[in-house]
């Protein structure tokens, strides 16, 4: 799996590509472990290029969400593709994460909140 970490408009964006499984999880977990952000900033995980997620991938996102919450940082998932979305539905994790359609939506939403 490929992983690109970038800063866009004050948000930390992690773009993942490929299968998000036990082999791909360690670098993502490391990314979350190293996160040290200002409260009220935002982490966006772009899953638009991820075609498969297993329980280890989900666990990694949950660990990330808990870690963000500790730092009062919001974690947003975007670009979830159909095969991955089915897993989020089946596990009801769609009710646990903030999920938006695109990376642009996630950034626009953050800017709205900052203005508000």
């Amino acid at each position: 799996m490929e992983m690109i970490n970038k800063q866009i408009e004050g948000a930390t964006v992690l773009q993942l590509t490929g299968r998000f499984d036990a082999y791909a999880a360690p670098p993502v977990e490391e990314f979350f472990q190293k996160l040290n952000l200002d409260p009220a900033s935002r982490v966006i995980i772009n899953l638009s290029q991820v075609d498969f997620i297993d329980s280890t991938g989900l666990a990694t996102l949950i660990i990330g969400m808990k870690r963000c919450r500790q730092q009062q940082v919001e974690l947003v998932l975007c670009g979830i593709q159909q095969p991955v979305h089915i897993i989020f539905e089946l596990t009801r994790l769609e009710t646990v994460f903030t999920i938006v359609n695109t990376e642009e939506d996630a950034i626009a939403q953050m800017q709205m909140q900052q203005k508000g």
């Binding site: 977990e29 329980s55 280890t56 666990a59 949950i62 089946l90 596990t91 009801r92 009710t95 646990v96």
Partner: protein, 370 residues
């Protein structure tokens, strides 16, 4: 000889400790008047001083001040050690003349000892993991409850690496019982430890709650395990069902678990989707009890994702669709045959491609009127 050596050196920790001691201190030992030897594959391959070769090749274990057998897979395949010089008459202690032999021995040690000790440690770890996997399987109920009019089967087909699947039964009487199936995130020993914990917490909750209430069982398990799960960065998907013979109904609650397949007689088979996320994710969860009629020849297969997430060499996944169709095709069989044939179907699909996750299921079938 082999038997004797095994009996003499059973302690892995001691072996390890001695071996390191030689590595660090071999030169000092030699300088202060000890004889040294190296044995490889039960043959003396080096000794110091060289003139003692004949005596050393006949030495007894009792003559050794320090000895370190190297054991891999319970077999002594080599030894290194230092011999007390005083026990051999006429020992010649010319250090300078024998320096090349010392160096030869240390080189030999460095060359073979470390990788072997690593190998040994790996072998030991693997043995421990295998043991954990065996204990884990023993933790799962091997006897199924006897419930009127119900044909019950459960099985766990473990992957090579120990995983976190579990199932459990709590029978209240011969007419009603609770069952649970769960999957702890991750693999290996952490998953196995949490699996043992989750099974016991689930079992206790099912037994101690005043009424048969799947939702209440899940809430209790989440309450009990949330902090430990958060600490360890883990979670569990759990499905809890209760069957009640007089009402011929199954009530259930599902915290993020799949696949659970309900196949009424004649089909079609459907997935019973979760309405709550997995346990360990949120401190308080909201889930609901659902009720299903369970008539004669109806089948329920509560499995783990190792079933639908089986892959073949082309990277193709077995998936929910094939699983649902397989359950429909097999639903006319008794529960243990449904289980056996289901695994066979998945194995045929995988065509020998490695099974990366545990495959576990509980199968209930209404056999006769209760």
């Amino acid at each position: 000889m082999q038997e004797k050596e095994r009996a003499n050196y059973p302690l892995a920790e001691e072996v390890k400790a001695h071996s390191y001691q030689i590595s660090i201190q071999a030169a000092a030992w030699l300088a202060t008047g000890y004889r040294a030897f190296g044995i490889w594959d039960k043959e003396l391959i080096a000794c110091w001083p060289a003139s003692a070769w004949q005596e050393m090749s006949q030495m007894q274990d009792a003559d050794l001040t320090l000895h370190a057998p190297i054991i891999v897979d319970e077999q002594v395949i080599g030894k290194v050690g230092v011999l007390n010089g005083s026990k051999i008459a006429g020992g010649d202690m010319r250090l300078d003349a024998e320096a090349d032999l010392i160096s030869q021995m240390l080189t030999m040690k460095a060359g073979f000892e470390r990788p072997l000790i690593d190998l040994f440690a790996q072998a030991r770890l693997k043995t421990e993991l295998d043991m954990a996997a065996r204990i884990q399987l023993q933790l799962l109920p091997q006897q199924f409850p006897q419930i009127q009019g119900l044909d019950i089967y459960a099985h766990c087909n473990p992957a090579e690496q120990v995983g976190g699947d579990f199932y459990d039964f709590s029978a209240y009487n011969d007419r009603s019982f609770a069952f649970a199936i769960g999957d702890i995130s991750g693999k290996g020993l952490p998953a196995a430890l949490f699996m043992a914990m989750a099974r016991i917490v689930t079992h206790t909750a099912a037994r101690s709650l005043p009424a048969i209430d799947p939702k209440a069982i899940l809430l209790r398990v989440n309450e009990d395990l949330y902090e430990d799960f958060t600490e360890a960065g883990m979670f569990a998907t759990i499905f809890v069902g209760c069957y009640n013979a007089p009402s011929a109904q199954i009530s259930y609650a599902n915290a993020g678990h799949s696949p659970v397949i309900y196949c009424p007689e004649g089909g079609p088979a459907v997935l019973l989707e979760a309405d709550a996320p997995m346990l360990g994710v949120l401190p308080g969860i909201i889930c609901t009890n659902h009720t299903l009629p369970f008539h004669i020849n109806d089948v329920l297969v509560a499995g783990t994702d190792g079933l639908n997430e089986s892959f073949n060499a082309d990277g193709e996944m077995f998936g929910y669709e094939r699983l649902l169709r397989a359950v429909e095709r097999l639903a006319h069989l008794p529960s243990h045959q449904i289980g056996g044939e289901l695994l066979k179907t998945i194995q045929q699909f995988a065509r020998g491609y490695i099974q990366s996750d545990d495959q576990t299921f509980i199968i209930l079938k209404r056999s006769t009127s209760s």
